[in-house]
């Protein structure tokens, strides 16, 4: 497990990351969301040791992280970081060697991965000759060489078409299945909701929400929608509730006092037909908007 504790980074007067704490549990995909400039990239760079830390710490398997730990991590920087004018297999072997692989082992591993991603034929091509989706594949190969202990991916899905996203997701799932923690940032919330086991939301350098998707959606004040056979005007007079919306036969209420919803449904059935009574969980985008507002 990767733990980020009270991580802080200042640039001059401004605090880019302000006492941010969260966990990336083994075998789970943790999505890192937030607006541009919220501090996602800065946090990831600190985790990778590429940027100095002003306060707080990063723990790996319960102890402070070391250079060698980081060397075993797979890292994908925000802007695609490889040599545009070099054959892809050469530079992948180079990266693998920098990470401590022996040359022949690196060659074999690179050839295998290229084959697996359908790039076996392109091994000698320069990176810039490949399509964006394929470049991204090469990039991910660079980060999973050698077998990574953890994956830290900054915007791995940006610029990918839906099919490429799916194949990238399949690959990441292969790693989480083996118990590898994956942290990735994105501002495509639908994607994050679909993929992630957990979610961390940053705004202005602070952590504003964290947890599983279900936890986050359940976290707020519970809301219910009630659809009746007749007019719903009487709902306003019920205690312990806050009526958010009232439109003819439909009412949307927020429960201020626990148990108030039970009184509401009892009263509704006493008065006539009840067509619908459901808990309304906010969409992730709504939570995000509220959290970052």
């Amino acid at each position: 497990m990767l733990e980020i504790r009270e991580l802080t980074r200042r640039f001059g007067e401004s605090t880019a990351v302000d006492r941010v704490s969260f966990e990336v549990p083994a075998g789970q995909m943790t999505g890192f969301v937030g607006a541009n400039g919220a501090g996602k990239t800065t946090t990831m760079r600190m985790v990778m040791g590429v940027l100095g830390i002003d306060g707080g710490e990063v723990l790996w398997q319960g102890r402070p992280i070391t250079r060698l730990d980081r060397r075993s991590f797979g890292y994908m920087p925000e802007e695609r970081g490889l040599y545009p004018k070099q054959p892809i297999s050469d530079q992948l072997v180079y990266v693998a060697q920098l990470k401590g692989m022996e040359r022949t082992a690196a060659r074999t591993a690179v050839a295998e991965l290229l084959e697996r991603f359908g790039l076996g034929e392109r091994a000698k091509d320069h990176l810039e000759k490949l399509s964006l989706g394929n470049q991204q594949r090469v990039q991910i190969i660079a980060s999973v060489l050698p077998r990574p202990a953890a994956l830290i991916l900054d915007e791995p899905f940006s610029g990918l078409d839906p099919l490429a996203v799916d194949s990238m997701v399949d690959l990441l799932r292969d790693y989480t299945r083996d118990g590898i923690p994956v942290l990735f940032s994105s501002h495509q919330l639908d994607l994050v909701e679909r993929l992630c086991d957990r979610l961390v939301v940053l705004a202005h350098g602070r952590r504003v929400a964290a947890g599983t998707v279900a936890e986050l959606r359940d976290a707020g004040v519970p809301r219910f929608r009630l659809v009746l056979g007749g007019d719903a005007g009487w709902v306003r007079d019920q205690g312990g509730l806050d009526v958010l919306d009232l439109d003819g036969t439909t009412a949307l209420v927020e429960v201020q006092q626990s148990g108030a919803e039970q009184h509401l449904i009892a009263e509704a059935t006493r008065r006539g037909d009840v067509h619908e009574f459901v808990r309304v969980r906010p969409a992730l985008s709504e939570i995000y908007r509220e959290a970052t507002a």
């Binding site: 990778m48 040791g49 060698l68 075993s72 802007e79 970081g81 490889l82 545009p84 980060s143």
Partner: protein, 396 residues
């Protein structure tokens, strides 16, 4: 992790970087073509000079009857004055025939007497070697006649008037060769430091701009990246320099200057030593210039102090002499070009190059230390150009 213990006996990171720098460059077509072109130019230049050197100037000299005697004297004595000139005499009937022959290019020049002397008429361009020969021979002939007229001899008239030159150290030709080779040294240093420096700086920007530097920084200490890049480029620059120097020296041994080749070998070896230390010092600074920029377009601005320094070295190396040269030959990094030039000229104490090289090495060590700090801090700063002050004081 399980990889920890198995990684320590691998190749050191700086060596991996060095190898990549060298391999990626020598497989680069423009580098190979540039090197081959330079060698071809060197060979061509030396070949041309050798040919120029061996070539005999063949000129035809036209003479009307009143000048045949003098022209014959010129043709006969030409070889004594300049062994590269071969004069053939063509007798012409009169002035009109002479002018026609010149226009038709049957003769290169026409000799005829004028008031108080002789005139050599050519079509348009001057026949330098012929003119020189004619001046000497005509002067000898006329002087001999005039001397006879007053009952004396040329020798008697000229007695005690000669001024000869003597050098305590070497001779004029040797000094000329030293001057020329010195120019080549300065030029090669400037050329290599600029080309390889620029290349190094732009490869630093490429890594910074594409962010591969973040992947590298997460895997190895940046010190190793810098060391690998500097060593790789230095090795390439020195190898290329040695190829040029070898081609130059071998080429020289095919010309009439071949006797100088053994004497040039020592200074050339010194030059390589000075080049090595000087280049390492500058390469670190070039890497800093690259790390301060955030895009290739910024390099112009961030490398200005360096290009100025290179110009100072270039012109200093070429123009300094006397006491200024002696002082400059100890001041790094200018000493890298000035001291080899002094060694070429001769008269340098055995300890002087050693002291200069030692100072240059110290300077290189300082730039490596300063450069490493600036490079490490500027490299991971994104968003625009980084000033030296920011880089120096920035937190990592």
């Amino acid at each position: 992790m399980s990889t920890d213990d198995s990684t320590e006996n691998r190749e050191p990171a700086w060596l991996l970087v060095t190898r990549r720098e060298i391999v990626s460059r020598i497989t680069d077509k423009s580098f190979l073509i540039g090197t081959v072109l330079m060698v071809a130019m060197l060979v061509g230049f030396i070949g041309f000079s050798a040919w120029q050197d061996e070539r005999t100037d063949e000129v035809t000299l036209g003479a009307t009857p009143d000048a045949v005697a003098m022209a014959t004297a010129i043709a006969d004595n030409a070889a004594e004055v300049d062994d590269k000139v071969d004069v053939t005499l063509v007798e012409l009937d009169d002035e009109a025939a002479a002018r026609a022959a010149l226009t038709e290019e049957e003769v290169d020049a026409w000799l005829h007497p004028v008031d108080g002397g002789w005139e050599l008429t050519t079509e348009s361009s001057e026949q330098d070697s012929l003119t020189d020969v004619a001046r000497v021979v005509v002067r000898q002939q006329v002087l001999a006649e005039n001397a006879a007229g007053v009952g004396s001899t040329v020798e008697a008239l000229e007695a005690g008037s000669s001024v000869s030159t003597a050098f305590l150290r070497g001779d004029a030709e040797k000094a000329g060769v030293a001057e020329a080779v010195g120019f080549v040294f300065v030029f090669l240093f400037y050329f290599a430091a600029l080309i390889f420096g620029m290349q190094l700086a732009s490869s630093v920007i490429e890594e910074k701009q594409s962010r591969i530097v973040e992947i590298i920084a997460a895997a190895i200490p940046l010190r190793h990246l810098l060391a690998g890049k500097v060593l790789g480029n230095t090795a390439l620059a020195v190898i290329q320099l040695m190829v040029y120097l070898a081609v130059g020296l071998v080429g020289l041994s095919f010309t009439s200057y071949k006797s100088y080749v053994p004497a040039l070998s020592g200074p050339t070896a010194w030059f390589i030593g000075f080049f090595l230390a000087g280049f390492i010092a500058l390469a670190c600074l070039w890497a800093v210039a690259g790390s301060l920029a955030s895009r290739t377009e910024d390099l112009q601005a961030t490398s200005t102090p360096l290009t100025m320094l290179m110009l100072v070295m270039f012109f200093g190396g070429l123009s300094l002499d006397g006491r200024g040269q002696v002082i400059a030959s100890f001041i790094p990094p200018v000493s890298a070009v000035v001291m080899p030039k002094r060694i070429l000229a001769g008269g340098v104490g055995w300890w002087e190059p050693l002291v200069a090289l030692g100072l240059l090495a110290v300077f290189a060590a300082v730039t490596v230390w300063v450069g490493e700090r600036l490079y490490r801090r500027a490299l991971l700063q994104t968003g625009g150009r980084v000033s030296l002050r920011q880089a120096w004081s920035a937190a990592e």
